[in-house]
Symmetry: none
Subunit: 203 residues, 4 copies
DNA sequence: GATGAATGAGCTTTCATTCAT
DNA sequence: CATGAATGAAAGCTCATTCAT
């Protein structure tokens, strides 16, 4: 039975998305994708040039957004004043705006890009984003507490922060809840860092 | 040339360990393992039934330890008093003891078990350990701050904590530095959590 | 958009001709042919049963001519008197007439038939024509120099002569130049043969 | 059943040689080659990295020889004095020496290289050799008969000569007969050329 | 014990052809 | 007439595993 072209393409993209999310690009199998999308191997290649092309189509929009972020981070307005806030409730309110802004990009396609792209030309994006986070983070640390002796922590915490965002996306599917959890995560991160740098805990 | 059986077996295990660490279980190739261990495919199968068997042998000891931990965590002595400490320097000192105790188990074999076991029957261990951490963590949260509205944070933070330990193991090879970083991570985690639960930040 | 049936058919034939000439029958791709003829795969099959059918239609006329030639060569008037001529300039003049006569048949369709038909039922035509040439040639040799000991040369030289005609068709597109070159080739062939049979050279 | 490694490799090479000769590189199928050599696809890849590697192994020796010829043709001793000879019988005797020298390289592997190499990195060799012939030929023509008005004939005749050598190799398998035919072909070529340039025929 | 030849199922990709619309 | 979605067989290639030696 023939179905409208765009429907089938969408079917394949959805099936591919789920297959890629489940197994990653390399282990994903075209045979699985086509059987999930109720079509045949040959027909798959009527819609996409090859396995990589489906992946590319899935992540292209979000890739472009983040490429822009990576290339222009110097000129993007910083929100440094957030660091001056000391009331967690105000943080929560302020952060909500930022997170809501980011939300449209923090979808499954973003997950594909940063967590399932091994074997594609986009495998570097995750590392790049973590490096970017890390260098921003390092600036704050140096400014605030230049004597802190654990350089590696900037990289570890950035990695950790990034992965926590991924985990929230993986385990929570509802946007509002995602935002709330991301804010908590943000707070956790800010508080923990400040505490480490000030050298005090739960006093 | 024949070498003593245990030596050859050890060679294969070491080569397999390095291959598994580098590529994970699924993408590890027997051909690579045998060529790293200066033997042949056929001989590999004299020592091990299949790819999974060599993985099993590599992680068995550490798996047994952690299985015990998982199954008996109720009866294991808790170190709750740590939560009462408020001076970061004292935390650092106290934690050092615990970490040093754990160190022997936090080796490459542990990394294999929790980070390279996709495709094996041990893939669940990572999840199980995170769940265990998570449920312990939940208890503390409930006790300390029963109204905190983000249940999922327990799981997210546990995951995050666990992954940070793995990352330290992966990026730092020297035991003392590993301990120091793990302690920092511990502190970061404790401070962040406390802050979140108390509803205050950098005051 | 629908165009008149014969126009579309002609488009497809022209596109197929160019594709077959370029790649030969086997490596020619229907997808290329339809895209060159601004139509679709499905429509191609409205006009032709399959890839072979379009080839057949392209070469049918010229095939019929040459089939006739092959089957009736005994009754076709020979031009034996040419062999009596000894002045190259006269040869050139006489040959020109014959070549001009043949020219209309020595077109791209002929090239298809004899040089791009691998994989079709017409692949034998080239061989057949060469055999025909060869047997004519043999007659002359036997008549002129019955003791010449290299029987195979008849077949080799016929092949060679035939292929040179094909090469001229492939590399030269202008009819007058084609004729001139074919005449030179004819002369070369006649002179060389005579020399071989007489057992003398450049004296 | 396992056979000695070199035997199987030889089987595969022979099967591949026959398959390549029959169908050319591109149309040759690994599945055919392995079934001709009574083995399996997987085993084929124990002996050769890929389809091209078998081809390369088949033609490497002869390729190296002809590469040397192509790169050093300027310094290779010419046999121009041959052109001074006018007795065909003496030509035959002189040429025999040269042909016998070449014979070891004029085998099926040479045929593969120049006539079945489409789709490999060696596809250019045939063209290169013909170009080399053609430029040598052109020199003689210019020297002997600078007013001859058919420039293209040098290229056509070179092509023709080359193809006739290939045809002899394809149709005749015995070395002595091959040599004899090649000599005849040489003579035919020399006589025809001279005749064309002198502007006379069978007088 | 040791060797590596052999196997076969699996992979991604191509393409002539069929057929529902 | 025209469209192009759908099919399936075949291609080159990979790799864990088996087994004769």
């Amino acid at each position: 039975m023939q179905i409208k072209k765009e429907t089938m393409k969408e079917n394949i993209l959805l099936a591919a998305e789920s297959e890629f999310l489940e197994k990653g690009f390399q282990k994903a199998s075209i045979r699985n994708i086509v059987s999930k999308s109720n079509t045949t191997i040959g027909n798959f290649y009527n819609y996409f040039e090859n396995k990589e092309a489906v992946f590319k189509e899935l992540i292209m929009d979000v890739y472009v957004s983040f490429k822009y972020l990576l290339e222009n981070h110097d000129t993007i307005e910083r929100v440094n004043y957030l660091w001056e806030i000391s009331d967690v409730h105000i943080w929560r309110k302020e952060l909500l705006v930022y997170i809501k802004n980011m939300m449209p990009n923090l979808n499954n396609r973003f997950l594909l890009l940063v967590d399932c792209s091994d074997g594609t030309p986009y495998a570097h994006v995750k590392t790049d984003l973590i490096s970017l986070l890390s260098s921003h983070f390092m600036e704050h640390v140096n400014e605030f507490s230049p004597d802190y002796p654990f350089d590696e922590m900037a990289s570890i915490l950035s990695h950790q922060f990034f992965m926590s965002m991924i985990q929230i996306l993986k385990t929570t599917k509802e946007d509002n809840r995602r935002s709330e959890l991301m804010i908590e995560q943000f707070l956790f991160f800010a508080i923990g860092t400040m505490g480490l740098l000030k050298g005090e805990a739960n006093d």
